[in-house]
């Protein structure tokens, strides 16, 4: 019973911690109904912030226990509660929201939102009933991620005999600990390392991420647009199948996507609160996988370039980038202090002679990435549709700044992936065959961010919706 129920308590506490952070940074209006609407984003924010804090605490020697977890949650909730009391009043809510009216007077957007919620809930329920009995079968899921979580369940500290020992050098000791910490929290709550009780918690990411995107873009994109697009995302096999694999690629891609949307909102006239959320999500992406760090750098660099070219101050963005760096620094310091090196020869990867010597690896990487992102059975045309939305925005001038940001981010992130295959010491065929189908997730989900965000702006331009003006710039 404990193994089944207590880990869901961890999820609840993560959601509460995340809501506390969201209130603290001003991303959620201080109304109970708004907190409920932000629950998906709250869960992902908690899953981002709490493990990052626990990693930093582990690095300075504070034991990893359920008590320290509770303390971090308490701190996050306390921060939100303090902000709730201190901040000036939020704008009043709509006088008579649609859900308080008779269904006969509901607008079409309301019907779309209700249908979307019902379909996602039904799919989630089917998936959850499957996840409840699924074993952890995928190789890297148990050999890398769960193995580290297993150690963090059995030990309260970063045991050097595991995390820095030559005997375990093949577990990718440099990989960040966001997912192992998140998994270990569930194992500890369950009372032991029981892998059958794990995938059901990964499955929570599915409703959480579509819910989070809808909430983040609620003032820019109508349900008529986000409803079908996010439903397609939830139904896309490349997304839900990966969630049931226990790999870290999709959680990382989800964090990167939410970071991308937050940066996109900031570029289209948003405020510091979006940058704060972007920093949280990008830190989590970078704290989940090394590819997440590459994606975070790509998104921040492109956002900076777009902001500068449009005359926006990049000081707040620099602060956000600094926050990302500070958040991921503890683990990097620990690995450096223990002489742990990653697979990728990053510095040599900047040497033109080294790169020229391995030029034959570039085309296979480009080809494999292109094949993977265009697999319709896996990604349901999400990326081509995103490119269409970007092209239409660029051609029309609707949300052009945001379109440039998404296009640049996709290009730089894709180039980063190719570069990582280019400099990798692994045989290229084996490396591509074992990873390309997973690592492209971040490209598809950044594309999904662009697709939802820009399609909303385009439809607003078509209907001359009242929300069109903030999204339009030349």
């Amino acid at each position: 019973m404990r193994a089944d129920l207590a880990p869901f308590g961890v999820d609840l506490l993560l959601a509460l911690a995340g809501l506390g952070i969201l209130v603290a940074v001003g991303c959620v209006p201080r109304r109970p109904s708004a907190l409920l609407a932000a629950l998906g984003l709250g869960y992902l924010t908690g899953a981002a912030v709490v493990p990052l804090a626990l990693i930093a605490m582990l690095v300075v020697g504070i034991p990893f226990t359920l008590e320290t977890f509770a303390a971090v949650v308490f701190a996050c909730v306390g921060l939100g509660a303090w902000r709730w009391r201190q901040a000036p009043s939020d704008p009043p809510p709509p006088a008579r929201p649609w859900w308080r009216r008779s269904p006969r007077s509901w607008p079409v957007d309301a019907w779309v939102a209700v249908a979307f919620a019902a379909l996602v809930a039904a799919f989630f329920a089917v998936g959850m009933s499957t996840a409840l009995t699924m074993p952890l079968s995928e190789w890297d899921a148990w050999s890398i991620w769960a193995r580290k979580a297993q150690m963090l369940t059995g030990h309260d500290t970063l045991v050097t005999g595991f995390f820095a020992s030559d005997s375990y050098v093949w577990i990718h000791q440099d990989y960040p600990l966001q997912v192992p910490i998140w998994e270990a929290l569930h194992f500890r709550a369950a009372g032991g390392f029981e892998t059958q009780a794990l995938l059901r918690h990964f499955w929570l990411f599915l409703p959480a991420f579509v819910w989070a995107v809808a909430f983040l873009l609620r003032e820019r994109v109508r349900p008529l647009v986000w409803g079908p697009l996010l439903l397609l995302a939830a139904a896309t096999p490349g997304i839900w199948e990966q969630l049931l694999s226990g790999y870290a690629d999709l959680p990382m891609a989800i964090f990167a996507m939410l970071g991308a949307i937050s940066l996109g909102l900031w570029l289209s006239g948003g405020s510091g609160r979006q940058l704060a959320l972007a920093a949280i999500m990008l830190a989590a992406a970078a704290g989940t996988k090394n590819e997440g760090l590459m994606a975070a750098v790509a998104l921040l660099a492109v956002a900076a370039a777009v902001a500068r070219s449009r005359g926006l101050s990049i000081r707040p963005l620099a602060l956000a980038a600094g926050a990302v760096a500070v958040a991921i620094l503890p683990w990097r310091i620990w690995t450096e202090a223990h002489g742990i090196e990653g697979d990728l020869p990053v510095l040599r990867g900047l040497d033109p002679v080294f790169l020229l010597d391995r030029l034959d690896r570039v085309w296979p990487a480009v080809e494999a990435i292109g094949q993977e992102v265009s697999d319709p059975g896996r990604w349901a045309y999400l990326l081509p549709l995103a490119v269409l939305a970007i092209a239409a925005s660029l051609a029309s001038g609707v949300a052009r700044r945001v379109a440039v940001f998404y296009l640049g981010s996709l290009a730089v992130a894709a180039a980063g992936l190719v570069w990582s295959y280019w400099i990798s010491p692994n045989p290229i065929d084996w490396h591509l065959a074992t990873s390309a189908n997973r690592v492209v997730s971040v490209l598809v989900l950044i594309g999904l961010a662009a697709l939802v965000h820009l399609s909303g702006a385009l439809l607003n331009a078509l209907t001359q919706h009242r929300l069109a003006s903030p999204a339009r710039d030349a």
């Binding site: 193994a3 379909l119 799919f123 089917v126 009933s129 499957t130 009995t133 699924m134 074993p135 952890l136 190789w139 148990w142 050999s143 193995r147 297993q150 150690m151 369940t153 059995g154 030990h155 045991v159 005999g161 595991f162 020992s165 030559d166 005997s167 375990y168 059958q196 647009v225 079908p228 697009l229 439903l231 397609l232 939830a234 139904a235 896309t236 096999p237 839900w240 080809e367 992102v373 265009s374 319709p376 045309y381 081509p384 549709l385 490119v387 269409l388 939305a389 239409a392 925005s393 051609a395 029309s396 697709l451 399609s455 385009l458 439809l459 607003n460 331009a461 078509l462 209907t463 001359q464």
Partner: protein, 191 residues
């Protein structure tokens, strides 16, 4: 390349929609705004069949794992790969959680090597160290080579997998045998 075809198809669909919108009298940004109809329609058309297919796949997966107990699920991946999960489970019962071990895996004549690592040995090693955790392995490396004299002597236990303890090049304590070729023994410097 398939991606080029998909991109051309998407852009062509967008161009057709813009042309129709212009024909309908929409100008500038509003005509391009009509492009949003393309992804919304495509998503609407694709999402429901995909949800249905996903539901079927999920139900098949559920049927595959119906009746799987937590204990069976814990070692299913190793069992499916052909590893001796029963032996590792037995060894875990003998070795204290705060004790260390060193795993010796026998060679097979046709061991496939990638670099200096035997693929089969490496896989058994990864699984064995996983099933024996949180006990820590010491002086361990993926291999497909002859064990070096003294390797593993600083572990509390030596774990022999498809390996005769008598072949171990060093002193060992009493051998506890699980099955022929599967045994554990105290090492020379066991605590």
């Amino acid at each position: 390349m398939r991606l080029s075809g998909e991109l051309i198809g998407a852009l062509a669909a967008g161009a057709i929609v813009v042309a129709i919108a212009r024909q309908a009298g929409l100008a500038g940004g509003r005509a391009y705004g009509a492009v949003a109809i393309v992804p919304v329609v495509v998503a609407t058309v694709l999402a429901l069949p995909l949800l249905d297919a996903g539901r079927t796949d999920l139900e098949e997966l559920r049927a595959e794992n119906a009746g799987l107990t937590a204990a069976e699920a814990q070692v299913k991946s190793g069992g499916d790969a052909g590893f001796a999960v029963g032996f590792f489970g037995w060894a875990a019962e003998q070795i204290g959680e705060d004790e260390t071990f060193h795993l010796e895996i026998g060679r097979v004549p046709d061991e496939v090597q990638v670099g200096d690592v035997g693929v089969r040995q490496g896989a058994i090693l990864q699984w064995g160290m996983y099933q024996l955790a949180p006990r820590l392995a010491v002086e361990q490396s993926p291999k497909a080579r002859d064990v070096e004299p003294g390797e593993g002597r600083n572990a509390d236990w030596l774990v022999f997998y498809e390996y005769e303890p008598a072949d171990y090049p060093g002193p060992i304590g009493d051998v506890l045998e699980y099955a022929p070729g599967f045994a554990i023994a105290r090492s020379e410097h066991a605590r």
